[in-house]
Symmetry: C2
Subunit: 363 residues, 2 copies
């Protein structure tokens, strides 16, 4: 049997730097645990635009469709801010999500014990926080038609369409219920059913799906209240299900509660392929951080934990994922900190590359 | 000259209770400051549905169009949860906003010194916080067509339309720039221009309007990052401008940072009427709080401060508004607390009505 395949798309900004550390981890698994991966690498985002004139070439798209998992670094940067909408770095990422049909975006918001002080929230509000946000990722206002800027009388109008079919809602809901079954059997679905018909359908379908998961306690919350409750008392949540746009905002809000964005991974999963593995893309929640690019300041942990999610969700290596996550907790407990995690007295930062090294050593 | 007119719509849940305290304040201004108002009262929300079968009667709508200011309590409650979308309590509020054309919704997120400990955020992050969110209130996905749940093949699809014309964006932006001029001349506009064309137009128009306000420093931020930055370091902001849906979520997030939702007022302003006053509706940010209705536990301060905003924005009584706000700060400094503000040792709560009384006494 051939090795599982991984396509690495480092992208822009600190993407390549943090991905270099993931490569060390992948190397360690090959050498020490005899877990070999066929790793290839390609361009996405601004890096792809510079070479191909678009943020994702058709060849790269085709490769992404064939591999067992894609690992992505980050896209975007000031250099590309003035590009036309259709070729902006983000479009490369959005094309991957859409064409791979990665409808279920898992965004854990977890507060690491060693880092609870970094949160802007009081320690007792966030210590031990462990939420999983499931964001629908292939539909809604991100992709709905009609969209664009149109002439209307003597002015222009900007239009986007929020659009969800029952089956789109259903598959996202199922993935959230499945996750809830493996966690604390508590699921909160967020929308604006008091204002939007798409939210009414969302509520109706999630309620219907819940009949198949009688053990899971389903609740519904308006998304504005959801944002409030996340800030007020985030530990009331376990799994949160929401749509593409609300998920974008609420998951960032939740991520920031933990105080350490440089720590948070994500997985975007689609339907099972012929080999039974889901289509999958893994990426850190943080962005390309142009302000610290090339300075060895980036925290590679979010990207390394994204690889841990790949071990768990793509490669059936749950215990190896646990091992990697434990190694990360270990180096934090030992006091190792990249520049984004400073603040404690007497701690001086280690570089991106040193962080990769101590994690590999802890493995 | 006739007295300025106010239409009071107490609505549902704690609405009537908190509005009773506003009436005391209005009474005080009539007696002691010779500021007389013609006050009438009517139904909105579930209370209107119970009588008229709809959440706002045409007669009430017509009255709202004629008065100088509307004061609204709150709408909604579990009793009305299963009503058809078209007659839900919220539709009454949305009809008022739309037909009065109240395009500029001002939502201050202010942290009261005496209450900084109530925030889930660390005290130094929120102490002294004073943000003004300007939310566009009459357009966007709240009102865009097409909307509804439609049959498509053998399933249904839920559709809403995000829709902004240049002039809609422009008038909201102007009101935000005007406010910024009277504050710290710093305005941050939030959208998702990296994903939505309506966000691109939003960014373009706000940038164009900024030419008329060269003293105001305009910045742009993606709304997801905006949510993060609000949680991370809210004091970086002064005035925030955003659309109807993002504004709904971001303003609730910002409100919760202060830790005391029962304190926060809002103003919704439209174009000037014949008498020069803007069309205006004032309401607390909190909801109808069915869980504490009728128990004398509600905090009337948000509603009273909404009347202070009416004094400032509708009745040209800025110094009387200052006086009322100072009275509120005073009673807080004196240690008076309604049940929502408990937590300090040795403080026992006063009732809704007692809070109204001490504020009137402080005036
Ligand atoms: C980069 C951008 C297109 C993207 C999004 O809006 O989905 C990002 O914010 C995210 O959450 O992954
Ligand atoms: C009650 C509801 C319709 C309303 C909204 O979504 O605008 C509320 O959340 C608000 O923010 O005033």
């Amino acid at each position: 049997m051939s090795n599982p395949s991984i396509l690495i798309l480092p992208g822009d900004g600190i993407g390549p730097e943090v991905m270099a550390e993931v490569r060390k981890v992948i190397g360690w698994y090959g050498e020490k645990r005899d877990l070999q991966f066929d790793v290839s690498e390609d361009l996405v985002g601004g890096a792809a635009y510079d070479v191909h004139g678009k943020p994702l070439s058709d060849e790269t798209m085709a490769k992404a469709q064939e591999v067992d998992a894609v690992l992505l670094g980050a896209v975007g940067g000031p250099k590309y801010d003035d590009l036309d909408f259709s070729v902006k770095p983000e479009r490369g990422l959005l094309r991957l999500r859409k064409e791979m049909d990665l409808y279920s975006n898992l965004r854990p918001a977890q507060c690491f014990d060693a880092l609870a002080d970094f949160s802007s929230l009081k320690k007792d509000i966030v210590a031990g926080l462990d939420i999983m946000i499931v964001r629908e990722l292939t539909s809604g206002v991100y992709f709905g038609e009609p969209r664009g800027i149109f002439k209307e009388g003597n002015e222009r109008v900007g239009i986007n369409t929020q659009r969800y079919t029952e089956s789109e809602i259903e598959r996202a809901a199922r993935s959230a219920f499945e996750l809830a079954m493996r966690r604390n059997k508590k699921l909160c679905s967020m929308e604006k059913a008091n204002v939007m018909e798409s939210g009414i359908l969302w509520r109706e379908v999630t309620t219907r799906v819940s009949a198949d998961y009688p053990e899971v306690e389903l609740s519904h919350m308006y998304a504005d209240n959801g944002a409030m409750q996340l800030v007020r008392a985030p530990k009331q949540f376990d799994v949160i299900l929401t749509d593409n746009l609300f998920g974008d905002i609420l998951s960032d809000c939740a991520a920031m509660l933990t105080g350490s964005l440089g720590m948070l991974p994500s997985a975007s999963l689609g339907a099972p392929m012929a080999n039974g593995r889901p289509k999958a893309l893994y990426e850190p929640v943080h962005g390309s951080a142009p302000d610290i690019t090339g300075q060895g300041k980036a925290n590679p942990i979010a990207c390394i934990l994204s690889f841990a999610m790949a071990l768990r969700y793509s490669f059936d290596q749950g215990s190896e994922a646990d091992r990697l996550e434990a190694a990360v907790e270990q180096v934090l407990a030992d006091g190792h900190r990249t520049a984004d995690l400073l603040g404690e007295e007497g701690v001086s930062p280690i570089s991106t590359s040193e962080m990769g090294d101590v994690i590999v050593a802890a493995l």
